[in-house]
Symmetry: C3
Subunit: 152 residues, 3 copies
């Protein structure tokens, strides 16, 4: 089964490739590594907004983390043509729009990590840094960037 | 025209290579990749200080982001001898010293991104993560690190 | 002298390899690079907790940064079999659980940087980004991730 079929079998689909909201590009390839820009939990009119947990719940922010991954996968597919060429998700940085006394960042970012493993299996097992930041662009609840190894 | 000439044609010049303010080095090369330390908006007596936007405006912080890039370029030149050997700016992380309710981090970091494209053209087009952090060393307004691919 | 002997000669030892606290792995290798997950200052019942400097001092947080490095080294040894195969510590990101008006992040992260140089000598000299974040998982005082180049 292709990775795209696997995504569909989970009841999911890839959103449109997001336009960068400023003067940069979504992805740069160097050798067999893709360095992806920080993705936001936005898909059309769906925007996962607010500081956790005062303005948005952990569960909602976790859903936002899943959405970040889906649009990052759209970027990867756009860059290399097929998600089947992903060799390994190498590392993931997950930044949560966090109240100073919130400590559940791992639970939020698990939305991203668990989805990567559901989609890619062992190839989706990545190293990770999860933490809470003071504020994020557009007041989104979570921002996620990735480094991904691809086939030659 | 060399990259250094291009910098001069923009009315800019490279500052002195900054001394790391602690027990680390400015840059490490691995293969054809340079991993640069986080650069601060400091050049001699010029220091772009303060939390955005309460203590310093978006425009001033954006100027700080440009200054970070200029001293990062000084580091690259010092490391590889010439900026003409830069093959691609791969990725940039821009950390803004941010009030919890500020969301204009992309505008601030555009100071860095736009300057890289003005200087390097397509080679300056990078992936990027911009976000707001609780505090930065020396209370600077912005801190930026880079991964850069260089010629053999 | 082996790196492990050097660690012991400093009166230190490697802790157990920590279990990731969520759905990710401690380390992914791509080519000759290891990308390590963010490590926390936890070793058994020892946990370096709290926001700096209101709940925990700079000196205590610096000790936490050392502890992060020791468990990152345990991860590296587990991944590649021996710390003697480390070719270069490439880059380090140090995130301090920071009050908004604290600016001494370099002093905290020096606990990590200085220890790497004590242990690895020139191979331990890395590029670095140190900054203050709003909150960290489990309310730890500091979180550190690394990119490390290893021998073939």
């Amino acid at each position: 089964m292709s990775i795209l079929d696997q995504i569909h079998s989970l009841g999911l689909s890839l959103p449109a490739v997001p336009a960068p909201i400023a003067a940069y590009v979504n992805c740069v390839r160097t050798g067999n590594l893709l360095f992806l820009s920080g993705g936001l939990p936005i898909d059309g009119d769906t925007k996962v907004i607010g500081k956790v947990p005062s303005a948005i719940s952990v569960e909602q922010a976790k859903e936002g983390a899943r959405l970040c991954i889906l649009n990052r996968l759209a970027v990867i597919q756009d860059e290399i043509g097929s998600l089947d060429k992903v060799k390994q998700i190498v590392t993931l940085n997950g930044f949560v729009n966090s109240e100073p006394d919130f400590h559940g960042h791992p639970q939020v970012i698990n939305g991203a990590s668990e989805l990567l493993v559901e989609i890619f299996g062992d190839k989706g097992k990545h190293s990770r840094t999860a933490l809470g930041v003071a504020a994020l662009p557009l007041d989104v609840a979570v921002e996620i960037n990735l480094v991904v190894e691809v086939e030659d």
